[in-house]
């Protein structure tokens, strides 16, 4: 690790001026959702931190998370960060394949034992090891082997973080999340389907900048991005307060940009930063496009009832069961009245 250059050195080598460095630090603070007053601290940290080794493992996944990350083409700020880390293994992105690739992974693990980061996308099948293998190694095995010497694990995307779609009912492969398997290392969950690229880079930046993992919520998600709900930061929130709701996707309310709660928006129960970081280089996010939030960054989002069912909807069970309850009520009432009359008869000796 000693031979790796610091981020400051890398930037200098690229001929980036001090002004450029300040700009880089300002955008980093912005990514980390830190107040601008933190910029000097970030600058100091970045100048002195050495770039860590990163091993990226992909299991039962759709590559959407990798797509999300790499869509932001280099040399963006995210790209710069990837310059600042050493991505030593990523079987989708790396040129090497087969034994060569596995050798690179082992080399990185040995060289950086105890200091490297493991990034995982995709869930891990426990049903049958043959459901998903890489180079003949089952996902569980590869995960355990790779994590053994890691500093921390980052679960990228809802599949790695919570089991995601492979883990959805009826979960044919017995898919589980990273934190279901990794108990002795810090696991940072960056859920989302896919996760916001900036959030992924922010987690790495945090590790890079401060050498620590960020504050996490009860689901292991960084508080800076998953601390408030979509609803909290939604620009349509005032309409919610006024009770103005779009009822269909093409009514006047929808055209006027009213709240999508009635169309099943999961914003109030979904913790993510979409409403402020937005997507597609800050263009917009689903609600701005007129579609309710699906809650993709929440555990088991796939199995939480209909996407278009309002959050306030209760499940009363079937009308038959309610009718059954009514019939039971009648029966109990008749029985109670009969018992009452019987007691009256018992007391009074009359029929």
């Amino acid at each position: 690790m000693k031979n790796r250059p610091t981020v400051g050195e890398i930037l200098q080598a690229k001929g980036v001026s001090r002004r450029g460095f300040l700009k880089y630090c300002a955008t980093t603070a912005s990514i980390l959702a830190l107040p601008p007053s933190m910029i000097p601290r970030i600058a100091a940290a970045i100048e002195n931190t050495r770039r860590p080794s990163v091993i990226w493992l992909s299991f039962q996944e759709c590559t959407g998370c990798t797509e999300s990350l790499t869509r932001s083409a280099a040399p963006t700020v995210e790209g710069l960060i990837f310059d600042a880390i050493s991505l030593d293994y990523h079987h989708t992105l790396q040129a090497a394949a087969g034994e060569q690739a596995e050798a690179a992974r082992h080399a990185a693990m040995e060289e950086n034992d105890g200091g490297y980061l493991v990034l995982v996308d995709g869930s891990i099948p426990l049903g049958n090891p043959g459901f998903s293998t890489i180079a003949g190694i089952s996902n569980v095995e590869m995960l355990k082997e790779t994590v053994a010497g890691a500093a921390a694990v980052v679960a990228i995307g809802s599949c790695a973080a919570f089991g995601g779609i492979p883990g959805a009912d009826p979960n044919p492969t017995g898919a589980v999340s990273v934190m279901d398997l990794v108990k002795d290392k810090p696991v940072i969950n960056v859920p989302g389907c896919p996760p916001i690229p900036m959030v992924m880079t922010a987690v790495l930046t945090h590790f890079l900048t401060f050498g620590t993992i960020p504050d996490l919520d009860k689901h292991g998600r960084p508080m800076t991005f998953f601390g408030t709900t979509i609803h909290d930061r939604c620009y349509r929130r005032p309409f919610y307060e006024q009770g103005k709701f779009a009822k269909t996707f093409d009514d006047e309310g929808a055209k006027a940009g009213w709240c999508l709660f009635k169309l099943g928006c999961k914003g109030p129960t979904t913790y993510n930063a979409c409403a402020t970081t937005k997507w597609n280089s800050g263009t917009s996010f689903p609600i701005e496009a007129g579609h309710p939030c699906l809650g993709c960054s929440e555990p088991n989002f796939w199995d939480r009832g209909g996407f278009y069912e309002p959050l306030s909807t209760g499940h009363f069970g079937s009308g038959e069961k309610l009718a059954g309850a009514a019939v039971a009520g009648v029966a109990l009432g008749v029985a109670a009245a009969a018992a009452g009359r019987r007691r009256q008869a018992k007391f009074t000796g009359e029929g």
Binding site: V16, S17, R18, R19, G20, L22, K23, Y24, A26, T27, A29, S30, A33, P35, P36, S37, A73, P75, T76, V77, L80, R233, C234, Y235, R236, R237, P238, F239, A256, G257, A275, T276, T277, S281, G282, S284, E288
Partner: protein
């Protein structure tokens, strides 16, 4: 200098997120005048509806001074029609905006020449004499 004309609200839905920011700017100006402490507002963490950011930018307008910085992509720094209030936009090499700030200060720090760059420049200058 831009005339201080009344800025019209855009026709698109107006969600009321702009007023609080303008209010914060006002308080930051008070702070600057009284204590000389500058303030930076990071617009990335604030919610905006369609058209609102444009409305905010239009409201602040373009003042006397504009600057362009070329380092890791371009950056545009300009004073608004309210002296002491600066609109700062950082872009990457693909001209995508990566950071947007309102700085309430006498002069944004990034406009000043930095010691490290001065030293490096001085070294380059010295090379001219060799």
């Amino acid at each position: 200098m831009t005339t201080q004309q009344e800025v019209q609200a855009p026709a698109s839905p107006f969600h009321g997120n702009v007023r609080p920011i303008l209010n914060e700017v006002k308080h930051a100006l008070d702070k600057l005048l009284e204590t000389d402490i500058p303030t930076t507002i990071d617009l990335a963490s604030l919610p905006f509806g369609p058209g609102e950011l444009e409305y905010l930018e239009a409201t602040l307008g373009t003042g006397e001074l504009s600057a362009r910085l070329d380092a890791l992509g371009s950056s545009r720094i300009r004073e608004t029609i309210y002296p002491g209030v600066w609109w700062v936009e950082h872009r990457n090499a693909f001209d995508e905006i990566v950071g947007r700030y309102i700085e309430i200060t006498r002069s944004p720090e990034i406009l000043s020449s930095q010691d490290a760059d001065i030293a490096a420049g001085r070294a380059r200058l010295e090379n001219q004499f060799e």
